[in-house]
C-alpha cells in the first residue's frame, strides 16, 4: 500500500485501536502554557493521578505575559496568579519550564522548534490550536483541549479517530515580495475556512520545497484557519539542516540514524489523498483580509467582493468596509508584527530591510513583538533593533501580545490594525478592534505610509 507522510507517522504511534471507535495514539512531546493547563493539573490532582511522563513535557509562559518590563512583577493580579500557578505546577511535577525572563522563553510554537524540541516524525500536542506550526518538520502536531491535556498528563496518549487526508499543492515560482504568509492567506481565501475540517493537510509542490523552515512554519501554522487539525510538510535536507546542532536535537551517530529514518517518511509516489487542491505560484500576490475570518482575503490590489450573504454583510459592517471597495489608501493607525505566525528572525529581517532609512508615519503605533528571547537577542545582534528604533517602531519583549490581546497590548475600539497574526475575528485584538491580516512586508509598508499601499506597484 502506498502511504502518505501522515499515514506513516500516525501508524507508527498507534498503541491500540478500539473496535468501531478511536485509536490510542502515543504522544512524543507535550507542550504546555499557562492558560490551558491549570484545569488539567487540577483534574489530575483531584483524581489522584500522577503525571505519567513529566520529561516529555515542556512548559513556557507566553499568552498572558507582558511585553514590557518583564523583569518587574506582573501588575495584573489574575495574570500573575496564572503564571505563578504554572510555575508551581511544573515544580511539583518535575516539568521543565522556561518561564518569563528565561533565555529560552517565548511563544510555544516559536521556542520549541528553535530549541530542537520539535523534530520530524514526532507526534506533538499542545493546548493551543496553532500547534499545527510544528508540522513544518514533518511531525503530526495539533492543538488539543484541556481535557485532552489531562489525558496526555495521565497516559502520554490520546484517544483519536484518524482524520482524512488532504493535499494542497502549489507549484511554480513565487513572484518577488510574495511571502509564505501570502501563500497561506491565498490558499485559505480560495478554499474557505472549513475546507479542512476533518482532515489533516499535507503541503506539497516546489513552492514549499524551496521554502525555508521559518516559511514552512508560517504555512503550517495557519492550517487550523482552514479548519484542518494540522498541516505537514515532508522533511528534507532543509529540515535536517535546521534541526542539526539545535540544543535538544539528537547528536552525532544518533542524529545520523534519525536522518535515515526521517528520509523514509515522505509520501510514497502514487499515494491517494481523500481530497486535493492544486494552485499555481504565479497567481499569488501579496494578500490582505477585509473581513472577520481568515478566509475573507483578497490580493492587495483587488477590491472586496460583492456578495449577498448575511454573514458576509455582518462581517463588513463590523469592519466598516463596503462591498466592492478597495483597501488601498485606507488609513491605518496600528501595526503589529508578531505572533506565532510571523515573529521569527526572517520576518523581522524582511521588515527591517524595507524599513531601513525610512520613517514610520506619525499616525501609526507600530509594535514589533519577537516570538522568543532568542529571536529578540538575534534582532539586537544583527543590528535590526537600531533600524527599528530609528524608524520609530517599538520593539517589545517576547510573547503572544496583541495576537490575542490577553495582556495590555490591545488595539482600541474601532481602530484598524494591520497584523501579521493569524486571526481577524471580531474583537480578537481587543474589544471592537478591526484586524487586517497581512505579511510582515505589507505590515511594514503600512506602518511607513500610515495607510495601505499597493506594495507590488511600489516595489516593482
Amino acid at each position: 500500500m502506498k502511504r502518505t507522510l501522515f499515514d506513516k507517522v500516525w501508524d507508527a504511534h498507534v498503541v491500540d485501536s478500539i473496535k468501531n471507535g478511536p485509536q490510542v495514539l502515543y504522544i512524543d512531546k507535550h507542550l504546555i502554557h499557562e492558560v490551558t493547563s491549570p484545569q488539567a493539573f487540577n483534574e489530575l490532582e483531584k483524581r489522584k493521578i500522577p503525571i505519567f511522563r513529566p520529561n516529555q513535557i515542556v512548559a513556557t509562559a507566553d499568552h498572558n505575559t507582558p511585553t514590557q518590563n518583564q523583569h518587574l512583577p506582573i501588575k495584573d493580579e489574575l495574570s500573575r496568579k496564572q503564571l505563578k500557578q504554572l510555575s508551581q505546577n511544573c515544580k511539583k511535577n518535575n516539568i521543565t519550564l522556561y518561564e518569563l525572563g528565561h533565555e529560552y522563553n517565548g511563544i510555544v510554537h516559536v521556542m520549541a522548534p528553535e530549541l530542537g524540541i520539535t523534530q520530524p516524525g514526532m507526534t506533538i500536542v499542545c493546548g493551543d490550536s496553532h500547534t499545527s506550526t510544528h508540522g513544518a518538520f514533518g511531525s503530526i502536531a495539533f492543538g488539543i483541549g484541556t481535557s485532552q491535556v489531562a489525558q496526555v498528563f495521565a497516559s502520554q496518549c490520546l484517544l483519536l479517530k484518524k482524520p482524512k487526508s488532504l493535499r494542497v499543492s502549489v507549484n511554480g515560482t513565487l513572484k518577488n515580495n510574495v511571502l509564505p504568509k501570502d501563500v497561506i492567506l491565498y490558499i485559505i481565501s480560495k478554499i474557505g475556512t472549513n475546507a479542512g475540517t476533518g482532515y489533516f493537510c499535507e503541503y506539497a509542490g516546489d513552492v514549499f520545497e524551496n521554502m525555508s523552515m521559518e516559511g514552512r512554519m508560517t504555512i503550517c501554522n495557519m492550517s487550523i484557519e482552514m479548519g484542518a487539525r494540522g498541516g505537514m510538510i515532508a522533511p528534507d535536507q532543509t529540515t535536517f539542516n535546521y534541526v542539526k546542532g539545535k540544543e535538544f536535537a539528537p547528536k552525532g551517530r544518533e542524529f545520523e540514524n534519525k536522518i535515515t529514518y526521517w528520509k523514509t517518511l515522505p509520501t510514497d509516489v502514487g499515494a491517494v489523498f481523500d481530497k486535493e487542491y492544486t494552485f499555481d505560484a504565479k497567481d499569488i500576490d501579496p494578500m490582505v483580509t477585509y473581513g472577520t475570518n481568515p478566509g475573507m482575503g483578497v490580493k492587495i490590489s483587488e477590491n472586496i467582493p460583492e456578495l449577498n450573504d448575511d454573514s458576509f454583510e455582518k462581517s463588513l459592517k463590523y469592519m466598516n468596509f463596503k462591498k466592492g471597495e478597495s483597501l488601498i489608501n485606507k488609513p491605518i493607525n496600528f501595526v503589529f508584527i508578531g505572533s506565532c505566525t510571523n515573529s521569527r528572525i526572517e520576518d523581522f529581517r524582511v521588515a527591517a530591510n524595507y524599513i531601513k532609512g525610512k520613517q514610520k508615519a506619525n499616525n501609526v503605533t507600530a509594535w514589533l513583538v519577537p516570538g522568543s528571547k532568542k529571536v529578540e537577542a538575534q534582532i539586537i545582534k544583527e543590528g535590526l533593533k537600531d533600524i527599528f528604533d530609528d524608524a520609530g517602531f517599538e520593539l517589545r519583549q517576547p510573547g503572544c501580545s496583541a495576537c490575542l490581546a490577553m495582556n495590555d497590548d490591545k488595539i482600541p475600539q474601532g481602530e484598524y490594525c494591520v497584523s501579521t497574526s493569524n486571526r481577524n475575528f471580531e474583537g480578537r485584538q481587543g474589544q471592537g478592534s478591526r484586524t487586517i491580516l497581512a505579511s510582515p512586508l505589507v505590515a511594514a509598508a503600512t506602518a511607513i505610509e500610515g495607510r495601505i499601499i499597493d506594495i507590488t506597484k511600489q516595489l516593482n
Binding site: Q151, S155, G427
Partner: protein, 196 residues
Amino acid sequence: MEKFTTLYSKAIPLAIENIDTDQIIPARFLKATNRKGFGDNLFRDWRFNKDGVKNPHFTLNDPKYSGSILVAGDNFGCGSSREHAAWALSDYGLKVIVSSFFADIFKGNALNNGLLPVQVSTEFLKTLLSEITKNPETQLIVNLENQTITVAGTPYSTSFEIDAYKKTCLINGYDDIDYLLSKKNAIKAFESAKAY
C-alpha cells in the same frame, strides 16, 4: 461527568454562522485557573454593550427564549482550541448545541464535557430555527440512545451521527482518562518497543 440520555427542552436560536471560540468566550476572560464561572461571560461582547449593560437585541437576553439547547448557524466553534468555550456554554446551563457544522476541536472539547454537539442538515437547521422563532415555546427532544432530534408534536425529526465510543461515554458518564488508564500496560509495552 454527568450522564446524558434524553433531553426535553425549549431552545434558544442563534442564527449566526462561523461563531468562533473568541466570540463564545473572549481571551480576556481566560485568566481563571478553574472551570467554573465562565458562563457569566459567555458571548460577552454580543450579550453586553461596552458599558456593561445587557444588549436587548441579543438572543440570550430575549425573555422569549430559554432552555438548555442552543441552535446555532453553520461552522460553530471554529478558531481557538480553548476548552473554556465548552465550559462557558455548559456553565451557562446548555446541554446541547445544534448546528449544521462543528469545528473539530470544539466538537471534541464539548463531548469531553458532557455537552452534546448535534449536527443536522442545513435544511433541518432552517426548520428548527423557523419553528423556534415562530413559537418560542417549542420543545425539542434530543434522544442520544436513538441518535435523534425531534420537534415535539410535529413530524420534524432527524437522526444525527456520534462516534460509538463517545456515545457510550456520555450515556455512562465516564471519560477518556478512565479508558486510557486501563491501557497503561499496553502503553508501556509500546514505549519499550518503539520502532522510530
